[in-house]
Symmetry: C2
C-alpha cells in the first residue's frame, strides 16, 4: 500500500468521502489512490478558491469536513481567501497540500515556496507528514483537528515521496473523536439564566444554534424568559422562512446596529463574538453597543454551544411546553411591471422560493432590499459570507449542492463578488448540480461607493470611479455562463426576471439569471 | 496632507506611476489620494491574481516596480501565487495592502486575519507602517526594497487609520537607490574567464543577460572563448527570433536535459540557480547534470550580473570586434490545411509573428511543438512562467501591454492555465490593450497525463481522468471572451486559425483565438 492509499483509506474510514480538488504532479500518488477508491467522490474545480469555498459550503450543510486537494504553496495560496471565510464560519475543512519530495527541497525548484508559512497563516492546525510510517496517524489527526473546536481549518502537508512510498502493509486508521469541548461553569450558566428574565436582556446565539433543534431550544428560552433573541449579521448558516425560530438579525451598518442595540441593557453571547463594525471609520466607535451595556460572553464559538444552550434552558425552566415564536409565511405582493429593481428581485424570489431551498447570500448592497422579502417566504437555509472575502458565493453553492443533492440551491451574488470565483460555474455544470445563480448586475463594487461616503470622502473622481465600477466594458453574464457550460438568461425588467427565474428554478441543472439593476 | 497622499506622492516622486489595483474599504484613503494624483495610472483587475501577475509582467518589461493595491489578508492571499511567480522571476513589485485601523484589530472583525504572516510567506521584505509620521519614510524604503537585489517582492502593510490621518505638512520622500549589489571576487572572475576556453565548457546566463546589451556581452564572450552559451528553461524574459544572441535553451524534461548537458565538463552559472527538475520522480535524480560535472556558481541571481558579465568579458579579452552568433530569420513552411495541430499553430504563429512583439508563453505541453518554429521568426521578447504556478499568462500579458503600449503582446496559454486568471481579459478590454490571446484548447491539464506517466503510474482511471480533463462540459472560450468584453474566434482547422490569427493581430484591441487541438 502506498502512502497515498493509506491516506485515502484513512479518510474514508473516518467518514470523509468528498474531495474537492485541483491536483498537480506532487499529488499524483494521492490521485492514483483515489482511482483505487471510487467511494471517494472527486470534484474538480478550475481554481483553488473554488476548491476551498466548496469545502466551506459542504461543511456548513453537513457539519462534516470535506478534504481538499491542493498543489504546493501556490495552490494553497489560491485557496487562502476562501479558507479564511471558512475559518470565520467555523467550518471543518481538511486540506491536503502536496509538496516536493523531501530530498528535492534543497534545490529550490520553481514551485518551491514557504508552504509551511502560508499554510500556518490561515490554518488552525498544520502538520507536515515526515514519513510514510506516520501517514495514517497524521491523517487521522488531521480529521480530528478539522472536527475539533466546533470545526476548524486543518492542513496536512504531504511530500510527494511520502505519498509514493510503500507503507509496508495495511496502514489505514480511523480518526478519534475530537476532544470534549470546553463548557462554561454550571453555576455561571444558572446565574445567567436568572438574568434572562430581567427586562432589556437579549440572548444572541450563533453557529449551530441558528437552525434545527438548537434553534428550537433558543426559541424555548425566549418563550420561557421573555428575553429578546438575536442572530449575528454574519451567520454561517441560519434557518429562515416559514417555521424558522424568530430571531432579530443584526445589520451591516454601524448606525443601524447602534440604534437596534440601544434598547438592551445586557446582551448575552452564546457561540459568537460580540459584534464589531466591519471596518473602522474615522471618529466612530468599533462596536455598536451603547456605552454601559453589559456584555456577557457566556460561551465562545469554540466552546460547547449545545451543552450550554441546553443547560441554559434547563436552568431557565424550559420544559417543552413553550410555544416557540416562529416565522409565519407572509409572501410579498408581486412587484409592478417595469424596470428591474432590487426590491422587485426580492419580491419575485420570495414568491418563487422553493420549499427547503439553500440560499447562498453574497449580495452586499442589493441584499438590504432583497432579503427582508425572502425572510418570510417558504422555509430555507441561508448561508452568508462570514469572512468578508468576496468570492465565496458560487463555490459555497457548489459545496452545498454536493452536500444536499435533494435540495435546490440558489446563489444570489453581486457581479463584483461573483467574478472572483466564476470558474465554479464549470464545476456546477460538470457535476450537474441543482443550482440557480442570480447575478445582481449593478456594474461594480457598489458597496465601495457607500464605504467612501462613510469615510467622509467627497464623490469619487476618475481614478476612484474606475476602480469601483465594472463598466466600459460591461460584463455579459449570459456569455460567461455559456462559456462555462451553464445556461443563462438576462433580465432587465420585472417580467423578464420573473419568467427567467421560473425557468431557472424548474431546471434540474445549473442555470444563471443576470438581473440587471 | 493625509497619509494616503504622502504615500502616493512618495511613489510618484520615486518613479512609480502605475498602480494595479483591487481596493476595498480599508484602502479608501489611498484611493482618494489617487484621485488627487492623476499622474498615477490606475488599472483595475477583477481578481488579485490579475493585479500581482500584471505587476510581474510590467516589471519584466520595464525593470521597474509597479505598485499593487490589495485589500487586507484575503486580497493578499488571492494575489499570492502570482507574487510567487514574480519572486521567482526576480521581478520588482511593491505591494500596498490595507489593514484595519490599529485600534480595530482587537475586535477580530470578519476580514481580520494573519495578514503579516501571509505577507511574509511570499515577500522578500515586509513592513507594517505604524504611524502616519513614518509613511513617507516607509514607502520610500519599500520602493528601495523592491528594487534591491535585482528586483524582489516588497510589501507595505498600511493600516486604515495611518492612511487617513494628517501628516501635519508636506511629507513625501524620494526613494534612495538600492544598496550596491554583491560582486564575485575579481580574481575568481579572471580564473573563470580562463576556464571558458577549455573544451566542454558552457556559460549559462539568466535574468538581464537574456536580452539587450548584456546578451550581446554574453554573445561576445562566446565568440571570443568558444564556450557554449546556455539559457535556462524558466527564463523571465528572453530575446528570441531574428537578431537575438544564439543561446541553447534548457528543456523541461529531465531526460532531455540530462542528454543535453552530458557533453559539458563544466557549467558556469551567471544569474541563475543550477537547473533542477521541476518535480522529483521516484528513483530519479533531482538534477540533470552528469555526475562529475564541474558546477560553478560564479554569480547568484541577486548579485551584480551586469558587472560580472562585463568583467568576465574583459578578462576573456573581449574587445568589441567579435562577431556575435545571432539567430537568422528562418520562417517555417506553412502547415498543410486540415485539422489544427500544435505544430501548425507554431508554424502559423511564426509566419505571422509581428516584429518586436512580446510573447507570453504559458503553453506547457503544446509549447514543445510551437516554440521551435517561432524561435527563428521575427525579433520578439518571450516571457515565461517562472514559478510554475499556472495563471500568470493573461495577467503578465496585461502588465506587459501597459508597460509597452507600442508593442503587440501575444499570450499563448493552455486552457487549464488560462482559466486560473481569466478575469484579466476584462482588464485588457477596459484598457484597450493591444493583446492577442491564443488559447490552446486541448481540454484540460494535458501535462498531468505526462506527469502521471513519468511517475510510473498506469493509465488514469475515472477519478484521475475527471481531475485531469476539462471536458463534460467543454469550455467555450469565445463566449468567455465575449463575457469579458473581448472579441474572439474559434479555430478547428489550420485555415481557420490562420485567418483568425490575422484578424486578431490586425486588431489594435484585445482579441482571443480559441485554437482547438
Amino acid at each position: 500500500m502506498t502512502g497515498g492509499e493509506a491516506l485515502v483509506e484513512t479518510l474514508l474510514a473516518s467518514g470523509i468521502n468528498v474531495c474537492f480538488a485541483n491536483p498537480g504532479t506532487s499529488e499524483m500518488s494521492f490521485v492514483a489512490a483515489l482511482d483505487a477508491n471510487p467511494d471517494m467522490r472527486c470534484v474538480l474545480c478550475l481554481f483553488e478558491g473554488g476548491v476551498t469555498g466548496a469545502a466551506d459550503g459542504y461543511a456548513r450543510m453537513t457539519a462534516l469536513p470535506a478534504v481538499t486537494l491542493l498543489h504546493l504553496g501556490p495552490g494553497f495560496g489560491n485557496g487562502w481567501s476562501n479558507l479564511h471565510n471558512a475559518r470565520k464560519a467555523g467550518s471543518p475543512v481538511l486540506n491536503v497540500v502536496g509538496d516536493h519530495a523531501d530530498y528535492h527541497l534543497k534545490y529550490d525548484a520553481p514551485l518551491q515556496s514557504d508552504l509551511d508559512g502560508v499554510a500556518r497563516s490561515v490554518s488552525n492546525w498544520t502538520r507536515r507528514i515526515d514519513s510514510v510510517d506516520d501517514i495514517a496517524r497524521d491523517t487521522a489527526a488531521g480529521v480530528k483537528a478539522a472536527k475539533s473546536n466546533n470545526g476548524q481549518i486543518a492542513t496536512l502537508i504531504l511530500p510527494a515521496d511520502v505519498a509514493w512510498s510503500d507503507t509496508g502493509g495495511a496502514a489505514s486508521q480511523v480518526a478519534e473523536a475530537p476532544r470534549a469541548l470546553h463548557r462554561p461553569d454550571a453555576d455561571r450558566v444558572r446565574a445567567t439564566a436568572a438574568r434572562l428574565r430581567e427586562p432589556g436582556t437579549a440572548l444572541l446565539v450563533s453557529a449551530a444554534a441558528l437552525y434545527g433543534e438548537l434553534a428550537d431550544v433558543a426559541g424555548r428560552i425566549k418563550a420561557r424568559t421573555g428575553c429578546e433573541l438575536l442572530a449575528p449579521f454574519f451567520a454561517p448558516r441560519v434557518a429562515r422562512g416559514e417555521g424558522a425560530v424568530e430571531m432579530a438579525q443584526m445589520r451591516y451598518q454601524l448606525g443601524q446596529n447602534t440604534e437596534f442595540l440601544a434598547k438592551f441593557k445586557r446582551i448575552i453571547y452564546v457561540g459568537e463574538t460580540p459584534p464589531v463594525t466591519f471596518f473602522a471609520y474615522p471618529g466612530k466607535p468599533s462596536t455598536p453597543d451603547a456605552p454601559g451595556t453589559d456584555i456577557e460572553r457566556l460561551c465562545f464559538g469554540d466552546w460547547d454551544i449545545e451543552w450550554t444552550l441546553h443547560e441554559l434552558a434547563r436552568a431557565a425552566g424550559v420544559d417543552g411546553s413553550e410555544t416557540i415564536d416562529r416565522v409565519e409565511l407572509n409572501l410579498p405582493s408581486p412587484p409592478a411591471p417595469g424596470p428591474l429593481t432590487t426590491d422587485a428581485i426580492g419580491r419575485v424570489l420570495a414568491l418563487q422560493c422553493p420549499e427547503n431551498a439553500i440560499m447562498v447570500n453574497e449580495a452586499l448592497t442589493a441584499g438590504h432590499a432583497i432579503w427582508p422579502h425572502v425572510d418570510k417566504s417558504r422555509a430555507h437555509d441561508r448561508l452568508k459570507n462570514t469572512g468578508g472575502s468576496i468570492g465565496m458565493g458560487l463555490p459555497a453553492g457548489v459545496g452545498a449542492a454536493i452536500a444536499c443533492p435533494d435540495r435546490k440551491v440558489v446563489v444570489v451574488s453581486g457581479d463584483g463578488s461573483a467574478m472572483y470565483q466564476l470558474q465554479s460555474l464549470w464545476t456546477a455544470a460538470r457535476e450537474k448540480l441543482d443550482i440557480t445563480v442570480i447575478i445582481i448586475a449593478n456594474g461594480g463594487y457598489r458597496i465601495l461607493h457607500e464605504e467612501l461616503a462613510a469615510l467622509g470622502v467627497a464623490p469619487p473622481g476618475r481614478n476612484a470611479q474606475r476602480m469601483f465600477d465594472i463598466v466600459e466594458p460591461d460584463l455579459d453574464w449570459v456569455s460567461l455562463a455559456k462559456g462555462h457550460g451553464v445556461e443563462g438568461l438576462r433580465a432587465e425588467t420585472v417580467e423578464d426576471f420573473d419568467a427567467a427565474l421560473k425557468i431557472a428554478l424548474d431546471s434540474p441543472e445549473p442555470f444563471l439569471v443576470e438581473a440587471v439593476v
